[in-house]
């Protein structure tokens, strides 16, 4: 009975709230150890939450020792707060402050009991069911579902009504509340366990020969800790609130003192009518503040589970300065001497009528440490040209594509440079200064995109026809229905999908077919530029070849230009007219495909080329003779 602070309780759970003094900056330490990875990031929310919860917890823990007897009756009833009675007295002259201290302890006690029991129950049913699967899972799942549909509070009222008053201790109420509140958490845990169970590291542990209980407790459970902690905190709030509700209705534990019973007596003592605010406001405020504190802590735990919730700090005034520092040229070994980029760019500039010009584009992710993702990139896309953009992960190629189309989102920001679109009908558009409405009309109609893994971005519940039609109704509202239908059939025909498949749902098509549908969708409005970001990476080579063939044929027939982004340099060598090789945000080499293959000037280009062993050529010296690039 000495340990009532929920914070200490959660530390016993092994939850992320590892102690009352979390490291203020765990994120900055690259080599954080142990549970440190699970400690929430320090934030004003967390601080406020901890202060509220700790304060109320300590009040509940030590308050009762410092105050007088809460039940001592005095002839002075209903006095307002004074030096003798900090929070005044009740109708029968009891000290409200003393009552509040004891009631806080009582409520926390019940909240903690409910939290621990409900979390244990949900963990047992959710995790074990989810991992073991089969009949046990079905059984556990059925049981949780039944528990879930039983309305909690009415059941508690019924049970509380059946249990004789003298047997109705605080733990009875806690037990009943726990039993009626674990099921929802169990379902969430089960879903998460099902997902974790299929991870490769669990398979790897099985291959290593780990026993089942160890796989669950050592490999799976730690990854569920943030979720468990958040459920634990939520169960405490729910427990305290439900108990307060019950006690207020007079169905609480007998002889117990909780915030709910205080409110019950205040109600019966006509505190409201007598305007004795000091009697009912304090218990209400304690409940509200404690719930608020736990909710704030829960926000911080949620950020561990879902890092996307972490909002980057807005850039300060010195951001521009930081960029200046980052823009400082990063030397690449041997680049300066061997790869004078400018002449190549000038040479190709005049060859074709340009459709898109990107000049000195800089894109920066304004995070705590700004990342300069695209550095001084200048490319010119000729009309009807296929431009290959080659680079590895983190080279900035996708960021560049998004920035061209203004699809980048904060914290990414275009720091400087220009993107100009040269319309077929004459007239140049500065894409970086277009208004929202102009941009909406421009996108897809003049410049469309096929995204990475695009075949999975079709909406599974509506037909191909509706999805294609949707684009037309948005951009060409005046187009009659029959014409729209004809256009949809036409584009499908163009990419080599039977127009009869218009009525199909995405899952009825193979991966290659879906990817073709996505390309058809990108072609629907007859764009002048298509940006394709790894459009074939998820596909088999035979299917990939079919799609590449289609792209080249359509380019020849329709004359649109393509920016083709991929890490697969051999594929680009076959496909593109020109290739830009990107590394660390910079274009290190930009030349004709033949030039890149026969006479690469930049060391990185050579390294990339060597990374692809030739299918039919000589065995490279590097294969099976030792490590050439020990990295």
């Amino acid at each position: 009975m000495t340990n009532l602070s929920p914070l200490t309780g959660s530390a016993d759970e092994g939850a992320p709230l590892a102690g009352p003094d979390p490291d203020p900056s765990p994120g900055r330490r690259p080599r954080a150890s142990g549970m440190r990875a699970l400690v929430p990031t320090w934030s004003p929310k967390l601080a406020t939450g901890l202060v509220l919860v700790l304060g109320i917890g300590l009040f509940g823990l030590f308050g009762p020792m410092l105050v007088g007897d809460p039940n001592a009756i005095d002839s002075m009833g209903m006095t307002s707060p004074s030096g003798d009675f900090w929070l005044g007295t009740t109708q029968t002259g009891q000290d409200v402050f003393a009552q509040l201290a004891h009631a806080t302890r009582g409520s926390l006690q019940i909240g903690l009991l409910v939290g621990v029991l409900a979390t244990l129950l949900s963990a047992v049913f959710g995790i074990i069911g989810g991992y073991v699967g089969g009949a046990i899972d079905e059984g556990f799942s059925l049981f949780s579902n039944v528990m879930l549909v039983i309305p909690g509070l009415p059941l508690v009222i019924v049970i509380a009504g059946f249990v004789p008053v003298q047997d109705r201790g605080w733990w009875t109420i806690g037990l009943v509340l726990a039993i009626t509140s674990w099921a929802a958490s169990a379902r969430v845990l089960r879903a998460q366990t099902l997902s974790l169970r299929n991870r490769d590291y669990v398979a790897a542990a099985r291959v290593a020969g780990e026993k089942r209980w160890r796989v669950v407790s050592v490999e799976i459970l730690p990854n569920l800790l943030p979720l468990l902690a958040s459920q634990f905190v939520f169960a405490i709030i729910a427990g305290i609130l439900a108990e307060a509700g019950l006690s207020f209705l007079g169905l609480g534990a007998s002889g117990s003192q909780t915030l709910g019973t205080m409110l019950y007596f205040a109600q019966n003592g006509f505190a409201l009518q007598n305007e004795a605010w000091w009697w009912f406001v304090p218990p209400g405020a304690v409940i509200a503040l404690f719930g608020c504190g736990l909710a704030l802590i829960n926000f911080s735990i949620d950020e561990i589970i879902n890092p996307k919730l972490r909002v980057p700090k807005p850039p300060k005034g010195d951001a521009a300065e930081a960029i200046e520092v980052a823009v400082a040229p990063v030397p690449i070994e041997g680049a300066a001497a061997e790869a004078p980029a400018a002449p190549g760019v000038v040479r190709v500039e005049k060859r074709r009528d340009a459709v898109l010009t990107v000049k000195d584009l800089n894109v920066v992710y304004r995070t705590a440490q700004p990342v300069h993702a695209v550095k001084d990139v200048s490319i010119t896309l000729g009309r009807g040209e296929i431009l290959g953009l080659a680079g590895e992960s983190g080279s900035g190629k996708t960021t560049l594509a998004y920035a061209i189309n203004r699809l980048h989102r904060p914290p990414a920001e275009v720091a400087s440079g220009s993107v100009t679109f040269h319309d077929r009908d004459g007239g140049d558009l500065d894409l970086l200064t277009l208004g929202d409405e102009e941009l909406r009309r421009f996108r897809w109609a003049k410049l469309s995109m096929v995204f990475q893994g695009a075949m999975n971005s079709l909406n599974p519940v509506i037909t191909i026809n509706e999805q294609l039609d949707d684009v037309l109704t948005t951009h060409r509202p005046d187009m009659p229905r029959a014409e729209r239908r004809a256009r949809c059939e036409e584009v499908l025909h163009l990419v080599g999908v039977d127009p009869a498949r218009l009525g199909s749902f995405p899952h009825e098509l193979s991966g290659g077919m879906r990817q073709r549908v996505m390309i058809a969708m990108a072609m629907l409005l007859d764009p002048q530029v298509m940006i394709m970001d790894e459009p074939t990476t998820a596909l088999d080579v035979v299917v990939q070849r079919g799609i590449l063939r289609e792209i080249i044929r359509l380019r020849d027939e329709l004359g649109f230009a393509v920016v083709f982004i991929t890490h697969d340099l051999p594929m680009l060598l076959e496909l593109s007219d020109r290739i830009a090789v990107m590394r660390a945000g910079e274009i290190v080499e930009y030349a004709e495909a033949d030039q890149i293959y026969d006479n690469p000037t930049h060391p990185y280009t050579r390294q990339l080329l060597e990374s692809f062993p030739s299918l039919t050529g000589e065995r490279g010296a590097f294969i099976r003779t030792g490590e050439r690039t020990p990295r």
């Binding site: 291959v207 290593a208 070849r545 076959e574 050529g617």
Partner: protein, 309 residues
């Protein structure tokens, strides 16, 4: 000498569509042997059943039919209890195959302890560091306490390879070990695997869809299509002189800058009718009928997809 023998392996998956139940045969009578010091590549597209074969060898899936027998150096079969000491697996995605919660040391120490190769804390630590040094993750004492998210993809895959070696495995199944890595570090990881193979005389099953690395990295190649092995032989023979029309199709579809300028508009070809029931064996130099295995269904024989309705 044989390290692992696979005989007539069959795997059926039940399919439920509405009330109808049927089975899909993912692997249909596949047989091969792995030899110490040699690499066999299992090549095929997604859905060809190559990963299912890997999972069955790693005992993550139970075969519907057929046998997988691991053999010790003296030719006696490995018992069920020792199987996991003998056969280990490297997974495709190093971002998924290491537990984000645990340190690198944990990932290596557990198999060492489980298989009784290390006794006591000091011995375990020493062996973990040895393993890390073998896969070029140095300095080992600063690598061991790190967590997976602090490592690059290539470094993670090295840890995964070290984990497979920890129990003293003689057979390593590498399921697309480099396909998730950046291209410039792929060869480094493959070369590492090749060096470890030489040092420990490992039998390696290399599963991939990349014909070029399969050719250079392995001694023998089996081409799988729809659960069947349709062609087998020495690596160069299979890639440079393919006989089965599916292998030809694959080879023609793979990007190959050496043949830059070949018209992309050309059709990569199709699978001939008679090849749906036979397999080519380069060792014997002859065609063989599928025998016990069912013919490949006609509807599936056009992987390039019909271009016009």
């Amino acid at each position: 000498m044989t390290a692992l023998e696979v005989r007539d392996l069959v795997k059926d998956y039940p399919i439920r569509s509405g009330l109808r139940r049927s089975t899909l045969r993912a692997v249909d009578h596949v047989s091969f042997t792995l030899t110490p010091g040699r690499t066999v590549a299992l090549v095929g597209e997604s859905g060809s059943g190559k990963s299912t074969v890997a999972k069955m060898i790693a005992r993550l899936e139970r075969p519907t039919g057929g046998e997988i027998v691991a053999l010790k150096d003296d030719g006696t079969p490995v018992s069920d209890r020792e199987y996991r000491d003998h056969v280990q697996m490297v997974f495709q995605d190093p971002f998924a195959s290491l537990n984000p919660f645990h340190t690198i040391e944990h990932h290596l120490a557990r198999p060492l302890r489980l298989h009784g190769r290390a006794k006591g804390a000091d011995d375990t630590r020493r062996q973990v560091e040895q393993l890390l040094e073998r896969v070029n993750l140095t300095p080992a004492d600063t690598m061991a306490p790190r967590r997976p998210h602090e490592l690059s993809g290539g470094q993670r895959q090295r840890v995964a390879i070290a984990r497979a070696l920890a129990p003293g495995a003689q057979v390593v199944v590498a399921d697309e070990p480099v396909s998730m890595l950046d291209v410039s570090i792929r060869l480094g990881v493959l070369n590492l695997l090749a060096r470890l193979q030489r040092e420990d005389d490992l039998a390696v099953l290399y599963i991939t869809h990349d014909l070029a690395t399969a050719r250079h990295f392995s001694d023998d190649i089996l081409v799988m299509y729809r659960g069947h092995v349709v062609e087998r032989g020495p690596a160069d023979d299979v890639i440079l002189h393919p006989r089965h029309s599916y292998t030809k199709l694959l080879a023609a579809a793979a990007p190959n800058p050496d043949e830059r300028g070949r018209s992309l508009a050309e059709s990569p070809g199709a699978i001939s009718q008679e090849d749906l029931t036979r397999t080519y064996d380069h060792y014997a130099g002859e065609w063989r009928p599928f025998g016990k295995a069912a013919p490949i269904a006609k509807a599936l024989a056009d992987p390039a997809g019909t271009r016009r309705g």
